[in-house]
Point group: C2
Chain length 433, copies 2
């Protein structure tokens, strides 16, 4: 089992108590509740509140072994995977009877890998912590900056991509500037800052019905966010982003903080799988699997989550399910059942996705929901979002603490985890303040 995300976690849980040995490999020692990682990036939640050590989750599952390490090779021919352990040391080879790979995805930066360090994403915990430091540091620097043009650039925040993550992130920065930080500074007015949400399509939240997109855009504007639909990013530098609109006109926006939430590329593990069995790999790097999520010609290898597309048994284009946690979780549970059914000699059925709808939150009391054609916007959608996320958050202690944080944040418009930590291990020769 490779990957401790939503898919991997459910697959491993589904094998609980069965007469199989499961080895779960992840390069992190925790399962991250990724739908909330953007809240770390604005200081609303602390990292440990949305991440749970994998070892704790599977503490009581004696048939599960957790290994922290980076997968460097999938040797499908000799039924083994190769792992680089966390400390520099020799690589390990792990043999398998069945292999489940759920490596997830990352953002693709439109092919411009050089933009990656300039425009951080908020999907991984480490990047979210760094985004938090960058946003807060920009306000701190602005407070001291005498040049009004530089100050305006410091107070301009550009979010690329108006999917749920981009929309939620933009709304959070809007709230941070307008509510949380209000009155905290003496020279600047944080609420005067600009938050630009750049989207290539003609509306935000394209996966939702158009009426909800409109309501979301309206809610964003109320939080001081400017949705810039029909705009594409053509360049990112350390001091500005360059945008092109539908007419081809170029705008240069001076900014020190760019956050990336657009375009998805599958884990390199998908490419390795495709290479290992000759399966098709699409432009987003996803490997095409059979309707039962196995690799073509390799029924002992199952691939799940954001990194796969499903072969259409009727010969059409491969089907890409949305990159949502419920999809990953359902696929994980299906994979566990597939393995157990096979061991028991039971017949197996192809995977079927049960669409539970989708949710997004924009700000305090604002959300949109699309559940089986039921379209909600406003406080009810927001409350649904809140309950669903609390329910799926792992760990009783975390649920209680997140609930307290959210309650206090809601009442005080505060954010408890507004820390600038550099990740600089130590600063030589500067012990004091």
């Amino acid at each position: 089992m490779v990957g401790g995300g939503f898919a991997g976690l459910q697959a491993t849980k589904g094998l609980h108590g069965a007469d199989v040995h499961v080895t779960l490999v992840d390069r992190n020692n925790y399962h991250l509740f990724q739908p909330l990682s953007y809240q770390v990036a604005t200081g609303a939640l602390s990292p440990a509140e949305i991440a749970q050590p994998l070892r704790r989750i599977f503490h009581d599952d004696v048939n599960v072994r957790v290994i922290m390490g980076e997968v460097t090779d999938l040797a499908l021919d000799r039924h083994a995977i190769v792992i680089q352990p966390p400390e520099a040391g020799p690589e390990h080879e792990l043999p398998y009877d069945s292999l489940i790979v759920a490596g997830g995805s990352a953002y693709n930066y439109f092919g411009h890998d050089e933009w990656r360090p300039l425009a951080l994403e908020v999907k991984s915990l480490e990047s979210a912590i760094e985004v938090r430091a960058r946003i807060l540091r920009a306000f701190e620097a602005a407070e001291l900056e005498p040049d009004p043009q530089v100050r305006a650039a410091l107070l301009t925040f550009v979010i690329v991509g108006a999917g749920p993550t981009g929309v939620e992130m933009a709304g959070q920065i809007g709230e941070l500037a307008r509510d949380t930080l209000r009155g905290d500074f003496r020279a600047i007015e944080p609420g005067q800052g600009r938050v630009l949400l750049v989207e290539t399509a003609d509306r935000v939240l394209t996966a939702f019905p158009a009426s909800l997109s409109e309501k979301a855009a309206h809610a964003l504007r109320r939080l001081g966010v400017t949705p810039m639909t029909d705009h594409t990013v053509t360049d990112v530098t350390s001091g500005a982003v360059e945008l092109k609109d539908g007419s081809g006109a170029i705008t240069r926006v001076p900014t020190r903080t760019v956050i990336w939430a657009a375009g998805v590329t599958a884990s390199p593990l998908a490419g390795m799988l495709g290479h290992g069995c000759g399966a098709q790999v699409d432009r987003a790097g996803r490997v095409a699997v059979e309707p039962d999520l196995t690799l073509p010609g390799k029924p002992e290898v199952i691939a799940l989550g954001d990194m796969v597309v499903l072969r259409d048994p009727r010969g059409g284009d491969p089907i890409a399910l949305p990159g949502l946690a419920p999809v990953a979780m359902q696929e994980g549970r299906y994979a566990a059942k597939l393995i157990l059914d096979r061991l028991a000699g039971r017949p197996t059925k192809p995977f079927r996705y049960l669409d539970k709808g989708q949710l997004a939150t924009i700000g305090r009391g604002e959300g949109v929901a699309d559940i089986h054609g039921l379209h909600l916007a406003g406080p009810l959608a927001w409350a649904t979002w809140l309950l669903v996320h609390l329910f799926y958050l792992i760990g009783f202690q975390n649920r209680v603490i997140v609930l307290i944080r959210w309650a206090v944040n809601f009442l005080t418009r505060g954010r408890g985890a507004r820390l600038i930590t550099d990740g600089v291990t130590h600063r030589p020769g500067s012990p004091g303040r």
Copy 2:
């Protein structure tokens, strides 16, 4: 006001509402509750639970301005300090009428600055987060390590310095290995690891009475910690520490994790102050101040906290008060009163330290306390420690959350914040798992 530690915070608070303008400069954007930072290093608490944004603390104090920046020069002659802002930019000069400097201290590594990256401390938040990652990663690597000698080195933890921080840290690692991680691994038994507490003196907690030192050493042994008194560190490498005992014999201990908590050196700001006014600077880098905490010949400059020693008005050696939070807080309050008294034309008195006693905790239900000759050990001392620390922890939300964490940790022997986050901003080209 330079420094947002305990001294700086109290001095700034003491000027609340007065007819003065206060500018508080710190290189971090938060006040750190340093006595608990070691709990971050073992995953018992999250960083945001013991750190509070300075801007939030002084949000309502309209006469207080908070600036995040590094002080690069103290120009005492022209009554100004020079600040490097958080983003690369021109330095700023801030003029002052009165200057309070509370830059704190760091560990001195016995003059071996090259040991610093190998033997991290747990005083600063960033270093504590990195220590947490190193400790947990050592267990993860041990789980995969086939060579028994390397595995033993990975499971050996050396703490240098048996003051309160070293003792508490050693006890926490002992508990982490024996209780929290028990049953989490399949190949190793974390409780089989070794925790060595190295101390040059002949007992742990030398600032406490000998009877309490003995009780603390006993409690440490019960947690699997080996106190190595009468031992001095003579070398630190990436794979081992070298110790010398009282007889001069050298022992080489293979280990991958060394934590430093010995020897104190004042902030470089103390040296700048001494240089600026000709005041004496001692071997630990501390500047000698007058009995009213002002610089000799510069009554408008006040220095506080770990970075000063007090001139003895009777001509004896300068008096070094212990490096404890209560000392810093009392000095901070005194400094604010001194400034207000002067402005009001009231006579001023020299600073007097009111000794409130000292506390240390060793593990779950174990502590020592020395309060005005009252010597406590065991659960009562531990409960006192717990209440005092909760009481002084800033922020209502943090108090509630820390109380919940501690309660859950106590009941389950768990640790909620066991995350390995690298502080690596991004890993180019490795989006997946």
